[in-house]
Structures are given as structure tokens and as C-alpha cells.
């Protein structure tokens, strides 16, 4: 126990959470404040945060209700808090946020004090994408890059085959030639 006490260090963590969409828009701020108070009560100092905003989920999530059935959610309010706290209290913070009734899902990560979130800058950076990577972005282009020779060859073969008997006369000549050969 003494060893663990001496190992206590102050680290930077970030909690990302989803609030259920059944929470009305005007109560979202107070729910976010409730999550924040769980963290601050444990002695954490908040570095950065973003109040939850409605987000369409990439897939349907389920949350177990008190009665044992499941509620399904296609959208949720996504918010996050970055904070600094001693490593020995982080587990209790995690469990308290997880069992909060309006929290659909949460993710706790260890991070750095510096700002890592690009936010709106990300859109500009994503647009300014290097062409070499962009070329590989889609499935079709990647197939073309992996097998450029086979594809071009196949196209050439297709072109050659139907162009041989272009007219009816040519076709007759080619048939005659084949008959003579036999």
C-alpha cells in the first residue's frame, strides 16, 4: 500500500462522453455540469472542455434501462473534458461517470496537456490532402494502382477482339480463311 501511495502522480486525462438524446436541449448544459462536478469533486483541475452538442451516431447504440429492457439511440450529445488529476482517483472518476444515468457511453484516455484537438482546422487540413494519399482513398483507385497492367491489358484485349471483324465483308473473309485452314 505504501508503494502505491508513493507512485501517485498527477496525469492529464480526457473523458469523452455521450449523453442520451432523450435529454431535452435546454437540460444538456446542466447534465454536462453534473458530469464536470463529478470530476472536479475528485480534486481535478479542468484544462479544456467542450459542452455537448447533438451528433448523429455512426451506428445504433443501446443502453439498459432500470427495468432491464434496452433503449436504442441513433443520435446523442457528444462532449468532452480534459483535466489533470492524481492517478489514484481516476478509477473512481471513471466508474462515477459511467453509472451516471444520462451518460450513454464514455471513453477515458490518458493524454497530454497541449491541445491535440484541431477542431475546425481539421476540415481545412483534410481538404489540403496530399494527392498521393487521396489517390489511395477510394476502393476503385486502389485496385487500379495495385494491378495497372492487368487492367489495361484486359481493356486492350477487349478492344482488339471486336474490332477484328468490323464489317460484314471482313467477317465473311475471316470465316472463309478459317474454313480453308480446316
Amino acid at each position: 500500500m505504501d508503494e502505491t501511495q508513493s507512485d501517485v502522480r498527477v496525469n492529464v486525462y480526457e473523458i469523452g462522453y455521450l449523453l442520451v438524446s432523450s435529454v431535452p436541449e435546454e437540460k444538456v448544459a446542466s447534465e454536462a455540469e453534473a458530469v464536470k462536478s463529478i470530476i472536479t469533486k475528485a480534486g481535478a483541475s479542468v484544462i479544456a472542455e467542450e459542452t455537448p452538442h447533438s451528433e448523429r451516431l455512426a451506428y445504433t447504440m443501446r443502453k439498459k434501462t432500470v427495468s432491464g429492457s434496452y433503449d436504442k439511440y441513433d443520435s446523442a450529445y457528444f462532449g468532452w473534458i480534459k483535466f489533470e488529476v492524481a492517478s489514484n482517483v481516476i478509477e473512481s472518476i471513471k466508474t462515477s461517470v459511467e453509472i451516471h444515468p444520462t451518460v450513454l457511453r464514455m471513453l477515458m484516455i490518458s493524454t497530454v496537456k497541449e491541445n491535440t484537438y484541431l477542431g475546425k482546422r481539421a476540415i481545412a487540413i483534410a481538404e489540403d490532402f496530399s494527392p498521393s494519399v487521396k489517390k489511395n482513398g477510394g476502393d476503385k483507385s486502389s485496385v487500379a494502382e495495385r494491378a495497372p497492367f492487368t487492367i489495361t491489358k484486359a481493356v486492350e484485349d477487349e478492344k482488339v477482339a471486336p474490332s477484328a471483324p468490323a464489317t460484314v465483308e471482313d467477317m465473311d473473309k475471316s470465316i472463309d480463311a478459317m474454313v480453308k485452314e480446316v
Binding site: 451528433e55 455512426a58 471513453l107 484537438y117 483534410a126 498521393s132 494519399v133 489511395n136 482513398g137 477510394g138
Partner: protein, 67 residues
């Protein structure tokens, strides 16, 4: 010609799972991550990218499977 690492170019030292606009560029239309061979980013950032994509998927910001 050798490809330049995308994250080195833009001075991004930590890849954040919340930057889904950036992460989307490194997954294919089915939602699968693109290999390092094709993204051309350094091993360090490819590892960070993989973690970020998995975190974003868990939080419903990116799909596990699309279509």
C-alpha cells in the same frame, strides 16, 4: 518517389480521435483502415491513427462497418 508523412507535413504531433474529418481520409468507403503501404504515413503516426480510429468507432463518431 518517396511519399511524405501527412502528419509530419502538417505538424500534427498527436492524433485526436475527435478529429473525424482527418480520420475519415484514412478509412475506405467500407469504414476499414487503409494500410500504411498506401497511406504513406510513418509507423509512429500509423499506430496513433489506428488507436484514434478505434476510439472514434467506440464513441460512434466513425462506423465499424459501412454499407
Amino acid at each position: 518517389m518517396k511519399k511524405q508523412c501527412y502528419f509530419n507535413q502538417h505538424n500534427i504531433s498527436h492524433i485526436d480521435y475527435k478529429d473525424t474529418e482527418v480520420l475519415k481520409k484514412f478509412v475506405n468507403p467500407h469504414g476499414r483502415m487503409i494500410s500504411r503501404k498506401r497511406t504513406g504515413i510513418s509507423a509512429k503516426y500509423q499506430r496513433q491513427l489506428a488507436t484514434a480510429v478505434k476510439r472514434a468507432r467506440f464513441m460512434g463518431l466513425l462506423p465499424y462497418v459501412a454499407r
